[in-house]
Symmetry: C2
Subunit: 173 residues, 2 copies
């Protein structure tokens, strides 16, 4: 007879998630979090973003925009952050619902008019719209996957951030 540890569904540590849910239920203040990043300019249009002790992630612009084309640019990084956030959401909510996922792929695109960024107008310099296509591979019932999808979209931190007007204060130190 062998005693096996419970296999985490989708590789997700459900115990850790349940522990956090319990902690935030017991003490709502435990749900209040603050996140940080530090960016250093590295010349031209290139820079690096540092988060905690992880290796810095490079940023640059394509040649048409005057950059050195060494890395994804900031608006592409923003799309990547949304896709990563959705991926976590599918993994977390599928696991909680007992749905095994074989694969998750997220394709993202966003439209942006360069006029304001280039100083040619006062309009919106940011994304006008963002479209996302999610490819889920799973043996679960289609209805279960639709329910999963709706839950993920309605609770995505990066998704909510983009769909709301967030107060951003930028000050010279």
């Amino acid at each position: 007879m062998t005693t096996e540890a419970p296999v985490a569904i989708n590789g997700v540590d459900l115990e850790a998630v349940a522990g956090l849910v319990g902690a935030v239920k017991d003490d709502p203040a435990a749900g209040a979090t603050t996140w940080h990043a530090e960016v250093r300019w590295t010349g031209g249009f290139s820079s690096e973003a540092r988060v905690r002790s992880f290796a810095p992630v490079p940023s640059d612009e394509p040649p048409a925009l005057g950059g050195g084309d060494t890395a994804a640019n900031p608006v592409e990084q923003l799309l990547g952050a949304l896709g990563n956030c959705l991926a976590v959401g599918y993994a977390a909510n599928a696991s909680a619902a007992g749905i095994v996922l074989d694969d998750v792929r997220v394709d993202l695109e966003g439209d942006l008019d360069l006029h304001a960024f280039l100083g040619l107008g006062d309009g919106n310099a940011g994304f006008e719209s963002i479209r996302v296509q999610v490819h889920l591979a799973s043996a679960a019932a289609p209805e279960a996957l639709v329910e999963l999808h709706e839950r993920v979209v309605s609770t995505s931190p990066v998704g909510h951030t983009l769909q709301r007007a967030v107060p951003v204060t930028v000050e010279l130190a």
Copy 2:
């Protein structure tokens, strides 16, 4: 007598930027751009964002959130994207104004309540507010740096994206 190529201020290729500005002025449709990213789930709470042909950028969650703690998480990536966008903005606008920058550092933080993400409420799952401190090192006059700062903040693509409600559609393929 030697003929030297013009030295790009701050390492910025002003000719490329001027060319793009001219092209968008001549043909406003040239300012309409679409950007892409693709995310692949890699098990647990980890995933990778791919942009063009660059190396994939990893994503994960800290242990308290049930992750493997191998990379910055999506909301930290979003802060990094904002910082990188501002860094490009300072480099571009300083160069256009003839301001030499010795250093640019951007510290970012954002507040996020976990209740909605954890399924404990229907509120905002995203950032409630984002605060940014910019450290500019330059011999330029303080007034010139304040003017630069105001121009950058008012034309930042990622900044505008966060400060507006962007339509985001997420569909199951």
